[in-house]
């Protein structure tokens, strides 16, 4: 099943995506078992919102060996999680806006995202697997000069529009057996196996929940193997086989 959110009559609602249609649901599929309402719209005529606004937005930093080598970092010895911020979320099709003052490397990172489906603490590996509701796609847009200049990732990774997520949550896919492809204006710029992670999502859930309760709707962005430069005027697509493609144009702040 594929679930997303759209704006209907001025309000965000959950929807099921099937057969080129978006079927509006009468509730939240993460915490309940909603049914289709009578309302449906064609998929290609609708703006998809970020499929979930997480209570906590978790993100893995370095989780692929070649990405570590690119930045001259040592591989992590433990699965340690970090954070991103909800203000930066934007949906499939919405612009990534490069702020005035960003120079140099302004990059996309295509990531598989776990969406948590239940409240979980001190999870076993099996409980970690059962705790995931589904999988979506994230683009961890990063302004590298700010990343290096600042004490935290506040503006380098969390400026408005820097966290496209979507287009939907896919509940029936093996996230570790897929291929991530990053395209700029249709040209393939990066391609890697999702399964090449150093620590997989369930390793993270087991480790995080030793201390932290995960809640329904929390997301874990799992890191990227490659970075791809973005310029205003580009359209960047992050495709993950078995899930879909997250596409966003890049604009310059006016």
């Amino acid at each position: 099943m594929r679930y997303s959110r759209i704006t209907l009559h001025g309000r965000p609602v959950w929807a099921e995506v099937a057969d080129g249609l978006v079927h509006v649901l009468d509730g939240d599929p993460i915490t309940g078992k909603p049914r289709r309402t009578a309302e449906r719209v064609p998929l290609n005529g609708v703006d998809l919102l970020p499929p979930v606004i997480p209570p906590v937005f978790y993100a893995v930093g370095f989780n692929y060996r070649s990405h570590l080598e690119h930045f001259g970092k040592q591989a992590p010895e433990r699965p340690e999680i970090g954070y991103r911020a909800n203000n930066a979320l934007t949906g499939h099709g919405s612009p990534i806006v490069r702020p005035a003052g960003v120079e140099g490397r302004f990059e996309a990172e295509g990531e598989v995202v776990a969406v948590i489906g239940r409240t979980v603490k001190k999870a076993t590996r099996q409980e970690a697997q059962e705790s995931v509701f589904g999988w979506t796609i994230g683009n961890d847009v990063s302004a590298r000069e700010w990343q290096h200049a600042d004490r935290t990732f506040w503006r380098s990774k969390n400026s408005d529009t820097f966290k496209p997520m979507g287009p939907w949550i896919e509940t029936d896919v093996d996230p570790l057996a897929q291929t991530t492809t990053v395209r700029i204006d249709g040209d393939v710029k990066a391609k890697f196996a999702t399964g090449d992670m150093i620590f997989d999502p369930f390793d993270y859930i087991v480790e995080v929940t030793k201390y932290i309760t995960l809640h329904p709707g929390d997301v874990l962005w799992m890191g990227a193997d490659s970075t791809v430069q973005l310029e205003p005027g580009n359209t960047v697509d992050i495709e993950i086989s078995g899930i879909g493609a997250l596409s966003n144009p890049v604009l310059e702040e006016q």
Copy 2:
């Protein structure tokens, strides 16, 4: 006015605190103008929830000179914001649970907290002042050995129960003209002027909103001047004049 949230008939509701009573409201005072319902309960018979669950939980790291000197850090040249996580929030009166495996310094930091009341981007200083709905109190509980051992603050500052916030939001107070007092079992362990901040809340709002939209309910924890050791069995009170006192017992994880 003082606003908080309580659990009523199994659901969190907004309430107004006045004259030793908690008056249940029919809506959210941050985004609307709710009225009192007929329901009210005595303040001392009720569990106060964290007064708001923020869309984004912002926190200042070092913002008082003697705190910087204590950690051997240079004063920041710019107001740079960081993040905490909602899983760690807990209300007035609820226990701070020291996880198994925490040794050494396990400390309280008493902080004044700005609660944002409106959507704001690229704020002037006056708009920053107008964007704050009210002020509450936070205790930025920190496990220092984890803070030094880990790449991020994930478990050192964001383990469950590490972020008491409350008891309520006070809308009518000058946050820069108050005194913060930290007591352990009634004994004063730290006392400092809230106004000794290097950058004040409005400096942060002006800087953050150059890149980031702040939303109603977002919180900014403004940093502490002192750290105070916590031991299981203690009760820690953070009192800020003009706002109130946030009190939490400290327990050991079983």
